[in-house]
């Protein structure tokens, strides 16, 4: 039987007289979307396995306001932000890890001026740190040796925050062959979901952005397209299906690949 994994809420932890070392900000996608929930669970399995004292907000978590702000609704963004900051500051949260680059970006860069000051990490940074510190050994699970993996840079992790190396360093622990797309890092291309585009029809044009981005990825003949964002995951998965390549090309989050290789996922 699989090991029971305790996921305490901050409220539960505080009422037991403890404080979390790090708050796991799950995000809306990671909480509600079936595909993204698998990424959330992989992150939690890694946190649990490495003994990180973490907690989630549970029902006290609400949208950061990112999609509202990106779509131009500053008022709604600020309402969401103020609500979240009140909760986070109330619990004296110092450190946050997010499962989504959109949450990461807005908590890190746009909450401070509203009174929310936290050390914010993206999950690929935390995972990379855990590997480097020797707390997360990549062994016992599926071997990725010889498989070709290409990493798609999420806009709000890469170009908005200059985080390019952490996810790549983590992937190097897999002993796979990391291949770069022609457009990568500073020259990366959006998956098509950024800037609240996830929530509307595409602008007129002759090609969907996710199809163009998937072409970039398929060009390097990967076995796996690695992502670090639930929205990129959706867009690239749809792109791979568009080219009917879903049998030969997987779209997986860095957290899932690492958890799989470290034998942390239930069989």
């Amino acid at each position: 039987m699989a090991e029971h994994i305790n996921v305490p809420t901050v409220a539960q932890m505080v009422s037991a007289g403890e404080v979390p070392e790090i708050l796991f900000w799950v995000g809306c996608s990671g909480s509600f979307d079936d595909r993204a929930k698998k990424i959330t669970k992989a992150i939690v399995r890694i946190l649990h396995h490495t003994g990180v004292k973490f907690a989630v907000l549970g029902a006290e978590e609400t949208c950061t306001g990112d999609p509202a702000k990106r779509a131009g609704n500053e008022f709604l963004f600020q309402m969401q932000a103020m609500q979240n900051i009140m909760v986070l500051n109330g619990y004296e949260i110092k450190k946050i890890v997010t499962g989504c680059p959109h949450c990461f970006n807005i908590l890190k860069n746009e909450y401070p001026e509203l009174g929310g000051n936290y050390e914010v990490m993206h999950h690929t940074q935390l995972i990379n740190d855990l590997i480097k510190e020797g707390k997360l050994a990549i062994k016992g699970g599926e071997s990725f040796k010889g498989r070709r993996i290409t990493f798609h840079d999420p806009c709000y992790l890469g170009r908005a925050n200059d985080v390019y190396e952490a996810p790549r360093e983590a992937l190097q622990a897999l002993d796979a062959e990391l291949v770069e797309m022609r457009r990568c890092k500073q020259k990366g291309l959006c998956c098509g979901a950024g800037g609240a585009q996830m929530f509307k029809e595409a602008e007129p044009g002759n090609k969907e952005v996710n199809v163009e981005r998937t072409e970039d990825a398929l060009e390097v003949k990967p076995n796996v397209i690695a992502t670090g964002c639930p929205f990129c995951n959706t867009m690239m998965t749809d792109g791979v299906k568009n080219f009917e390549k879903e049998d030969s090309v997987e779209v997986m989050d860095v957290a899932e690949l690492i958890a799989e290789a470290a034998d942390l996922l239930p069989s």
């Binding site: 990671g30 909480s31 929930k37 029902a59 949208c63 306001g65 999609p67 779509a71 509307k200």
Partner: protein
């Protein structure tokens, strides 16, 4: 605000954020459901 205009799907996303605390119309109470699934 009076002169604001946005595509219908964006307006609906705004409404979801405001009413459900997420860009989709999922009930806020279901936010922790994945935790139950984790140990199912």
């Amino acid at each position: 605000m009076e002169e604001s205009k946005s595509p219908e799907s964006i307006t609906s996303m705004f409404n979801n954020v405001e009413n459900n605390g997420a860009p989709w119309a999922f009930p806020a109470a279901d936010r922790g459901k994945w935790i139950e699934e984790l140990n199912a």
